[in-house]
Amino acid sequence: MSNFQFYFFEFSAIYIMLGWAVYLMFRINQPYFGSLYSMCIGAYFAAYATINWGWPIWLVLIGAVAVSILFALIPAFRLAKLGPFPMVIASMAIMFIIQTVVKNTEALGARYGMFGVPHLSPYLTLSITYGFLIFIGYMVYHLDYSHVGRAMDAIHYDRDVATTLGIDAGKLSVQFQLFSSAVGGVAGVLYAYTMEGVFPEAFSMNFMMHAITIVVLGGMFTMWGVIISAPVLWSINHFLPENMTGMSVIVYGVLLIVMLLVRPSGVIDRKIVNWIARRKR
């Protein structure tokens, strides 16, 4: 496998994971980006634990998930009560706080970050990544196509009505925040191993915009769109002809605008999923 193929598949999977983490919260009308700061926490945890303690990857993954969930738990109950707009502001604010803390903590390499995360063979890294991707996909699928999924729909259309139907929107939000953060933590660990290090600028606003675009373009109402949009968006830059690489951001923007105007529900919406499911039967 070439080095480029490794990066292509690895980041495609990481972006799909992140897309799913963001998607779940979109489904309950709470655009929560905790998965992104959890990714930062996971990546730093991985770097610190491998460089300073020499932990193996499996232990790092467990630790990163635990730490990400713990961090997410602190504001989770308050965030669960917020509407979409305050939720965006609050999670962005937390992201900035975490970034600032990281940038100013000498033990975490401060502004320069941490390097020296052990290099694993591409096949091992991809096996772990795709193993997690399938596991996370399985979890999201089961949430989506169960009574929880129907509760998610009810909350998405009207939170108050959903509450009168006996759905505990707050509890569901907390659970999803924790799940999204755990996914973010895993993605962070994989990111640190792939890049062999981590630095604060890696988790900037651009990163958040990228995650949102993946979900908006792929489809906000099904988990399937992310599987297409994440690799497509990630690869635009690499497969454009050399003299057009400067246009990648424009291509990106145009795609997003066209999609919002023509198919606001994304490339893969429920109609398409149902149509495919009917044909399969």
Partner: protein, 398 residues
């Protein structure tokens, strides 16, 4: 639905396995023997927030390549630059470096910015491919040496000369405040070191006012800086922000001579946006001043074809390294033969990492262990909308 899920997952896995296999079967047959042409990759930001700067670097690099080819290329064979875009995005920078490694490049020009370096250099260092990066910053150089060259100033030289040269002109300044936009880590590192130097000079630092990116109103920044009680203002933010901050400071009756603009804050954009209120400011860089006639020609050509806009002062850093690579190839007997790739990569690295008296596009400097030293330091004053040289110092190489 369940079947749909399993089908989708099977599809992901199959696609993954198929794609991972494509590289093995389809690899072009490896050529042997000396290279017919030198294909040198350049890892650069051609899209993203600094795409405009990237285009300037590309313009100058292409002209240097043409000049080299007109003079026989590298060892009589033509030079071709292949641009790899990073979009200033760390994963893209790493993936582009992966493409360079896959192409079995002899070495590369770039990465340019320290974030790109942090993303791309772990792979380059592991694979043993040398990066001619003019602008990596000395902190990145420390982390990834001997596989990266940095020809921009060290923090030590920035600290030793910037503020002392300015203060020599305005000895009445007794306390300085830093107005800093942490666009990249090097800016903050240089400010921290400068603070130490200010202390060593017996002056006072009254603090740091951080400039958030993309502010609409900069009056608060100026007011906070003045409130610290400082009588000297060291500005290291983007040119656009600096123009606004300077205007606000001057509106509050700050003496323009008491304002020093660090390199990130100074350039054609600053001069244009601060038109009418930049008279008498001090700075360490000039977008138009050069002592090298060759660079003056390039500068003139660029200005003639770009509505009078000069190249950014940093543009020469990477393009001029092609001359160093030419020297390395021609003096070390590099052939470009894939069979000797590893050995020739090391020869190039060792040559470039220790070079005395390298003639760059703007000035001459030494390279010690992959870090440029003895880069001339300048102090300019802005007069009539342009920079006028006040003092030049060539640091002594220890």
């Amino acid at each position: 639905m369940k079947r749909l899920f399993y089908c989708a997952m099977a599809l992901i896995l199959t696609a993954g396995i198929m794609m991972s296999g494509c590289g093995q079967g389809n690899e072009p047959e490896e050529k042997t023997g000396p290279a017919e042409e030198w294909n040198i990759p350049f890892l650069i930001f051609l899209s993203g927030p600094l795409a405009g700067d990237g285009a300037m670097h590309k313009w100058l690099t292409n002209h240097v390549v043409d000049e080299i080819n007109e003079n026989g290329g590298f060892a009589g064979k033509p030079l071709k630059i292949e641009y790899y875009d990073t979009a200033m995005d760390p994963p893209k920078a790493a993936a582009s470096m992966a493409k360079i490694v896959d192409a079995k490049a002899l070495c590369l020009i770039g990465p340019m910015n320290d974030n790109e370096c942090k993303a791309a250099m772990p792979l380059a260092a592991r694979e043993g491919i040398y990066a001619f990066s003019g602008t990596a910053s000395d902190d990145v150089w420390k982390k990834f040496k001997p596989w990266v060259l940095n020809t921009s100033s060290t923090v030590e030289e920035e600290k030793e000369y910037n503020v002392p040269m300015w203060i020599k002109q305005v000895p009445e300044v007794t306390s300085i405040v830093g107005i800093v936009e942490p666009m990249y880590p090097y800016i903050t590192t240089v400010w921290e070191a400068t603070k130490d130097k200010i202390g060593e000079m017996g002056l006072k630092t009254t603090g740091k006012v951080e400039v958030p990116s993309g502010m609409l109103d900069y009056s608060i920044i100026a007011a906070r800086a003045i409130e610290t009680g400082a009588d000297g203002y060291y500005i290291s933010c983007s040119e656009e922000a600096a123009a606004k901050v300077v205007k606000e400071l001057l509106d509050r009756k700050v003496d323009p001579a008491h304002i020093y603009l660090w390199s990130s804050a100074m350039g054609a954009t600053f001069l244009k946006q601060s038109e009418g209120y930049n008279e008498g400011l001090y700075t360490g860089v000039s977008p138009t001043y050069t002592e090298n006639p060759k660079y003056a020609e390039y500068l003139k050509l660029y200005m003639d074809t770009h509505d009078g806009e000069p190249l950014k002062f940093m543009c020469h850093f990477n393009a001029e390294l092609l001359y160093l690579l030419k020297e390395a190839i021609e003096t070390q007997g590099i052939t470009g033969d894939p069979a000797k790739l590893k050995e020739e990569r090391i020869k190039i690295r060792d040559y470039a990492n220790n070079k005395k008296g390298f003639q760059g596009l703007k000035y001459t400097y030494d390279i010690v262990d992959g870090q440029a030293v003895g880069i001339p330091r300048y102090l300019y004053r802005i007069e009539n909308g342009t920079t006028v040289l006040i003092e030049k110092v060539v640091p002594e190489v220890k």
